[in-house]
């Protein structure tokens, strides 16, 4: 005997629909800001890993191992609650007067994901024959310029598929921000559930929206890949 009465109207219109939409907006903001920052930071770390200067290489490796090997949830709590102890009072006061929940989530997501992205890009860089770097250097390019003009443009192209994975992970991981009170999609779905007790409907709606976000990211990168990065692949 199934006693549960499905009521899909709560998630398709009215107040609760508005909540989910506002949650979606925050999820999109959180994910897009973090994806851009994580990509840039990942690039930087990857290049640092390839540097000839030992301390720079060491810093990049340490960063990578540290952030790749600790749970994201712990990192979120660290930036939100833990950072309080090590920051000066004035900084804390300022942070608390802003939307620090959102910022802490962006910082955690960015740093965590950038470690994975850096590894992906590094493997892309390694797949470029090292003669290219040597040729670039002997043609008079500095290390950074060789990276910028010769190596990275090729490496990033090769790295597109694993990068998509990292972007997808980031978008889904953004749901953890709810633990520090960021009112993103999962938070709002949970709110709808606790107000209406219609958990199945609320979380189904959230699931479908995450699915749409993920499929959109995959599709967008695919199009960018075929049109801009690797037009030769387009049939």
């Amino acid at each position: 005997m199934l006693k549960y009465h499905f009521d899909w109207s709560i998630v398709t219109s009215g107040k609760y629909f508005d909540w989910l939409v506002s949650g979606l907006k925050i999820t999109l903001e959180l994910s897009s800001v973090s994806i851009v920052l994580a990509f840039l930071l990942g690039l930087l770390i990857a290049v640092m890993r390839m540097s000839h200067i030992k301390p720079i290489r060491f810093i990049a490796s340490a960063y990578l191992e540290f952030f790749r090997n600790t749970p994201l949830l712990v990192q979120i709590f660290f930036w939100y609650f833990g950072s309080y102890k090590i920051l000066p009072t004035a900084v804390n006061d300022w942070l608390n007067s802003t939307n620090f929940e959102f910022a802490a989530a962006v910082i955690a997501l960015t740093i965590y994901t950038s470690a994975f992205i850096a590894e992906d890009i590094r493997s892309g860089i390694l797949s470029i024959p090292k003669e290219q770097m040597e040729a670039a250097r002997s043609a008079g390019f500095s290390f950074l310029r060789s990276m910028q003009y010769i190596i990275l443009p090729q490496a990033v192209r090769i790295t597109v598929p694993p990068l998509v994975n990292q972007f997808l992970n980031l978008a889904k991981n953004s749901s953890l921000a709810m633990t520090i009170g960021v009112m993103e999609l999962t938070y709002q779905a949970r709110q709808v559930e606790s107000y209406t007790f219609k958990g199945f409907e609320a979380f189904t709606a959230a699931t479908l929206v995450y699915l749409v976000i993920s499929v959109s990211i995959t599709w967008a990168v695919h199009v960018y890949d075929r049109r801009v990065l690797n037009p030769q692949k387009a049939g």
Binding site: K3, Y84, F100, E101, G181, R190, Q191, S194, F200
Partner: protein, 271 residues
């Protein structure tokens, strides 16, 4: 297209797993099993928290569960729940009864049945000393509370301009208050008193006399589980009559405790 079909199949599978618990006879089941499984809080002194010495969950809620189990002549198994998880846990049959600072309200009563009120309190705020004189002082501020609680819904109604930040539990919300991330933490006075009682820097905080709602607590049971509800209600009334209920109150909220409160209620049959 194939991928899409796989996906739809996955969604359908999840859908088919969503089941609803059957309305049964918990009273008979519990007697047969010989154990009463209760969903309780484990970080909420003095209602349900882990005693530092014995490492066991103790508190006001727990004493009521134990009294009911004693009357049934069965053992007690305590399962920690959160405000958000307790109703699903009950409805899915993972626990037999909720004794977790649960406010009785009409929306919840549509999903589960409540016992008579066994504790009465009101929703207030805990703030930095001297900062909040009236509700106006909290307008436009961030206010912390716990996910899935009535506190969350009441404060959103009482101070619409405030931003309500919901954390996983009250200790975390209080940590946010200590770090200045929220201007106040709001929930039932009894819980706030417990938080304040345990705080290391008590004198920096206070509970101003601003009540935004009345919160009667009830024990939660599955819907249409008439025998069990009747049994629990009968036990509660007997406990009031024998003075046991008052004794439990004094044990946790008496003048000598860290959370002294006045007993402004008696357990009576709901109308």
């Amino acid at each position: 297209m194939k991928k899409l079909m796989t996906l739809l199949a996955a969604v359908a599978l999840v859908g088919s797993m969503a089941h609803a618990a059957l309305a049964g006879d918990t009273l008979a089941d519990v007697k047969k099993k010989g154990v009463l499984v209760a969903g309780v809080k484990d970080s909420l002194p003095p209602f349900g928290y882990i005693d530092e010495k014995t490492r066991e969950i103790v508190g006001y809620d727990i004493d009521f569960v134990k009294a009911i189990a004693k009357k049934l002549n069965v053992k007690v198994e305590l399962k920690p729940v959160t405000s958000a998880s307790r109703m699903p846990q009950l409805m899915e049959g993972n626990i037999d009864i909720i004794a977790a600072t649960m406010t009785k309200n009409p929306e919840r009563a549509k999903q589960i049945d409540f016992s008579h009120t066994y504790f009465l309190t009101g929703q207030k705020f805990i703030t930095n000393k001297g900062k909040v004189k009236s509700l106006k002082d909290l307008e436009g501020k961030k206010i912390g509370t716990a996910k899935g609680s009535t506190s969350e819904q009441n404060v959103a109604k009482a101070i619409p301009t405030a931003t309500v930040l919901s954390f996983d539990d009250y200790p975390q919300a209080f940590l946010a208050l200590q770090q200045g991330k929220v201007a106040a933490v709001t929930t039932d006075e009894s819980i706030l008193a417990g938080i304040l009682g345990k705080a290391p820097n008590k004198n920096k905080f206070e509970i101003p006399n601003l009540q935004i709602s009345e919160e009667p607590y009830g024990l939660g049971m599955r819907k249409d589980d008439k025998n069990f509800v009747a049994f629990v209600n009968k036990t509660l009334l007997e406990m009031e009559k024998s003075g046991e209920a008052k004794k439990i109150f004094d044990k946790w909220f008496g003048p000598k405790t860290a959370t002294p409160l006045k007993r402004t209620f008696k357990i009576t049959a709901d109308k």
